[in-house]
Amino acid sequence: MARLPRLPRALLPLLVALSLLAAACATATTPSPNTTTAPSPSPTTTPAPTPTATPAPSEASYPVTIEAANGPVRIEKRPERIVSLSPTATEILFAVGAGSQVAAVDQFSNYPPEAPVTDLSGYEPNVEAIAGFDPDLVVISNDPGNLETSLEKLQIPVLLQPAAQRLDDTYAQIEQLGAATGHAAEATQLVADMKAAIDRLVREAPRFPEPRSFYHELDPTYYSVTSKTFIGQIYRLVGLKNIADEATGGAPDYPQLSAEFIVAADPDLIFLADTKCCGQSAATVAERPGWDKITAVKTGAVIALDDDIASRWGPRVVDFLRTVVDALSKLDGATSSLPTLVAVGS
């Protein structure tokens, strides 16, 4: 009775052709190893807190075994063709002076600028594309598709460095990458420098009789972070009160906050970690309905962060803390023991 209608059947080849075309496009854009491999003769310009250039350590005796998040990782000889699929690991590698040993980094590893960016994806890594770089060490921050197993079949050691939960994790990962790449001394120095810089910033940070509150924004739909997260702990170092901490009892560590709650909580500071992704700024925040009643908006204490710095757990966490402390010192009542009158509606 019901015969196949004519048009959909006629369209089928067209749809098939289109999907094949899409597939062809997809394969055309998968990274071809030869184009991007050439490691720029990077003069190892190390990022922010640079350890004084310690010469190549003599104690680097291989093989070494690194205790990483994925268990002991044995590295036979000094890696010279590292592939990093983690933007944080890329920053660390360059900061410890192993930049010249990095052959390729994933598409989001945009710092330091001399990092050899490819279109390798950290989210959906293609094992063949990685293997095409002929790596002798692969650093990842998560393992979605059993990448580790596949690469180990190819005798390529994999170092898993998941998102840090606290600063000590960052320090441990720096030491791991230093030991793995033959830059253990620089890594130790970098950790010491970071600790010193953070201590100094915490000491310099202005104190307030009443702790100042803040709202850290991850995206324009008001996702935020609690103090249980890595970034939340950094704020705690300088005694800030996180409004998202009221999200308890079943709420996730990265809760999506109600707009009316944010307005009612009336934070003294707003930190925007969605400036690059989503174009947010003090101006866009001020335009949101009801937000003009928030103290931070009224006093101009809406701070645009670099999304990348605020979402990574590498050496630039020091820069992040410095931004926070700078913002704190601009607040009324900073460093003074006498609190100036700020309208706080509890």
Partner: protein, 388 residues
Amino acid sequence: MEATQVPAAASAATSAATAEERAPAMEGEAQARLAATQDPPTPTLRPTRLRPGLLALAATGLVGAALLGILVGPVGLAPTAVAWELVGRLPFVYVDSGLSAREAAILWELRVPRVVLGGLVGAMLAVAGAAYQGVFRNPLADPYLLGVAAGAGLGATLAVAYLPQLGGWPLSPIPLAAFGGAVLAVVATYGLGRSGTRSRTTATLVLAGVAVASFFTAVQTYVQQQHAETLREVYAWILGGLGTVGWQQVVLILPYVGVSALALLLHGRLLDVMALGDDEAESLGVPATRVRLAVVGAATLGTAAAVAVSGLIGFVGIIVPHAIRLALGSSYRIILPLSAIFGAAFLILADLLARTALAPAEIPIGVITAFVGAPFFLLVLRRTRKIG
């Protein structure tokens, strides 16, 4: 009515294969057969009209839901103060509610527009779902049947991926792109599906919708995969939510939703006739194809506008009409207006749950509607014989 009807129709909605293609056609025949066995000329049309008492009751329910939505929120505003504040908005009434400026802003700029928008979106989705179920004679039809969701998703994804610096725009381009994508998808579906012969137009249309939705979804997935940094933003939009809305969004969609809902409500009688089948409707002087085009057009504009500001909120368009059908009768002159009213109330209450259950954290509203909707839907399936 045949017991296999609903499962067959269900698979027709999800995949394209020959066997399933026949399902809606068979369903039409089944209904025609059923119609023939009962007394003509209007067998399934119990000449029921919406009784004023029922309408008043429904309206009271909606007002109650709206009041609850306005009174309760993650920020505890004193109910009496809120009540005075509401009274103070009445013309010629001046009272001091005692709310601070910030609390008043929370009430008027955040909570009230959110409740109003939830009502608009819920009413639109429910009435569009009801109209689709009538015009396609398919109990599983929902407002997303012809590719609105996939089109809106693609539009939003393209906007997130390719439009630079979303903050620099006077109005966020994401809803506009979503609206455009949704309308485009339905136009494509209708263009592809129309060319089937007249008697099978529903089946062809539904299948064309399946094909277009798959195609748009494939393109969306491809774009997302190429721009992995957009995953989060697109995901947040797809989950749906009313968390960032204000009066701007209400003003944005009100004309579309108002006109569309009104147009659909006026189709109640025609949909009742079309329940008999296209041929029977034509013989009664109802131009089935033209009615279907009008319903699809109106439902598309309204749904696209709703989806553009709220993201994809599922199940409202299915469970609300079916609940009314089960409880209050099968005439579209009853189902359509009550769907609008109860759809609004349902979404307002779902959103209330979304913003208070984990307060001050939010739960995506799509999770709430599906969580409540899925078990309810199973109940509907079990009682499927009553649906027609």
